[in-house]
Symmetry: C2
Subunit: 398 residues, 2 copies
């Protein structure tokens, strides 16, 4: 029979990352494409012990759970949030299947098809997909190394009356960028003035290379001024392990309540086995020490990657050194199409993500995102050598 699909899914493109992963299946390829954390650093033994403790609590651990999430986990997460100056109670929090689901739920409860959401340009690829799935009108705001340009955000708020702004202010994906304090405060002030909600996505905030650096969340800044303008979401995918697919969102009680209603319809609840395992893990495992360990390792890997790239002595390949997160955002010479470069790179058995996919509009085709957390040591050196060879062939032709 002939299938008629919804308008939203027809618009939805499969992600470039995904298509590349398919392209590379079965090949001995070194991939800097995926946003994968380092497997060798996963706290497997601690997770195994935590799961065992859950099983020891008995068969009740295998029953249906609350849509809002396992209460003891929410209670522990509230304590962790408070340590970052975000003060909430468990009923202002919902556990989600990764922070990805939080973005989806917020979109579904706030936005009607055609409603405007403002985003950084470029921004997280899969957020653009979520917004597409809900049929939203995604309007990009010009951004620079310090974050969204506030004057532009204000102009677009006046013009479009958006309900929501979506931002990744700390170690953004793909740029690795950190918003300045001024821009953070500026956006909050705008949102307070124009009655706009911010969805603050913070999957990478704890992966910082300077352990003493402090980047206050928008949620904490809003709290000081009256509050209620920010929904904050984060995840255990980068700090513990992705397989447990556990994220959370905090926000105004009304918003969280509606997210729970939507989640009840969408999937009833997330895996309670995973939630209880994380609850046990937080009780018995020094997670903050672990986060410092992986952050240190990722910082070292970034240094290695930068050194390998610097050796090439390119005059017109630039980047801003990220202070955390998982990605290096390369600016290639003007006129170089990074999608063509990718095709050449894959021939040499190396992959990355071309920059264009991350733009809601006006894509810059001479950008490339390289992940520096997954591939390490000799393998990283080989991968960057292959990448450099592909790039050098392009540069020779320019």
């Amino acid at each position: 029979m002939e299938y008629r699909f919804s308008s939203n899914v027809q618009r939805l493109q499969s992600s470039a990352v995904r298509d590349i992963l398919k392209l590379t299946q079965g090949k001995e390829i070194i991939s800097f494409a995926g946003g994968l954390p380092a497997e060798e650093l996963f706290p497997l033994d601690a997770i195994r012990e935590a799961a065992e403790r859950v099983f020891q609590t008995g068969k009740n651990s295998l029953q249906y759970g609350l849509t809002e999430g396992y209460l003891p986990l929410r209670e522990q997460l509230c304590v962790r949030m408070a340590q970052k100056n975000m003060h909430v109670t468990p009923d202002e929090m919902i556990i989600t299947t990764g922070s990805q689901q939080a973005i989806d739920l917020v979109s579904r409860i706030l936005m009607n098809p055609g409603d405007v959401v403002l985003v950084e340009n470029p921004t997280y690829l899969a957020s653009l997909q979520v917004f597409g799935l809900s049929g939203l009108n995604v309007v990009p705001v010009e951004s620079d190394k310090d974050g969204m340009i506030i004057e532009e955000a204000e102009r677009l708020m006046k013009q479009h009356k958006p309900k929501m702004v979506y931002v990744v202010p700390t170690f953004g994906n793909p740029t690795g960028r950190v918003w300045s304090l001024e821009r953070r405060k500026g956006l909050i002030e705008l949102c307070q003035r124009y009655g706009v909600l911010v969805l603050e996505d913070d999957p990478y905030g704890e992966i910082k290379f300077d352990a003493n650096a402090n980047y206050p969340t928008l949620f904490s800044l809003d709290g000081k001024e009256g509050g209620g303008h920010v929904i904050y979401t984060s995840t255990f995918s980068k700090t513990v392990a992705p397989a447990l697919r556990t994220g959370w969102a905090i926000g105004p009680r009304q918003v969280i309540g509606n997210m729970a209603k939507a989640k009840q319809a969408a999937d009833l609840h997330s895996s309670t086995l995973d939630q209880q395992t994380l609850d046990q893990l937080l009780q018995h495992f020094p997670l903050n020490d672990h986060i410092r360990t992986i952050s240190k390792a990722y910082g070292d890997r970034l240094q290695q990657m930068q050194a390998l790239l610097t050796q090439q002595r390119w005059s017109d390949v630039k980047w801003v050194e990220p202070k955390g997160g998982m990605f290096l955002w390369l600016e290639l010479p003007e006129g170089l199409d990074s999608e063509a470069l990718l095709r050449a790179a894959v021939q040499k058995n190396v992959a990355f993500v071309p920059g264009a996919s991350f733009y809601a509009a006006d894509p810059q085709r001479n950008k490339a995102r390289l992940n520096f957390t997954y591939t390490t040591g000799e393998r990283m050196a080989t991968g960057i050598a292959r990448f450099s060879e592909a790039l050098n062939e392009f540069l020779a032709r320019c």
Copy 2:
């Protein structure tokens, strides 16, 4: 600030089951309301061993996985599906967070807001919520003890040109009803004629009290006639345990492909720890024997509940004995409002679900759904005594 929510979420009611559960929190209440499987029958040791085997495979088990789901699990599920005359390959299958998510994904990829979905009347409460969340126009089809009335379905197909029909043909929720073979074939024929997709929801099909009974799925009947008209979904929540939140859907490759695109945006993938655990469980645990054990136990519990109700010698309280599943669907005397009865019952520390919530339109207020799988033995006897006391007070007033 003042929050403006989406039209869909504003329409979305919190479920009656949920509100009742809240009502009963902290009280020593005996609940026949939830659709909870029996905890004491969960194969905890087998799940624990399966999880341990997953951890033994190493740290790679904790990495991100495929949106479509863990391939070895899909391969094993294809074998299980083939045993029920449903022949698919792993790329015609997607793993979901419970079958609930399959309903959501199908709605999102097929339907635009306002599109018509036909449903049985009454039907699964949370399916009505999902359809509401996508802003669908839900049109109920008159149904009797043998399933949907085919002439009515045809009339409504001509009138509304629906894209989809949603049905639970085997041990439906709330009715426990099994569709006759004739009705099954009748619906498939209609869908083939009018180019309509069927979403066949089968969470309970394996929980049958006559082990030799055979109820062919709509998917298997369609397969014989050309195929491609049915998306079939089921779950491990009733046969293994709900905490692992793992369901699956099979269907035409194009449909499954679009479900994967939507799922990538919605939550990237479901817990791979749970999926790998289920894969190990299927390899080492005699699941079919376990399903026979729980089905036998549930059949016994149904008998106990029916005996307790029969003892009351009500002349105008009726039900059709279900041949499987988890629910008894009571018809109370005409004019008796089961929501009022629930309020009285909760005063006596017993709960059930009033029937009205399950109707897309024209609710019958004198129906009540009782779960017979969770509460057992003396506790069931006490619960039914309390329920009977509440009901007898109502009957005395009639």
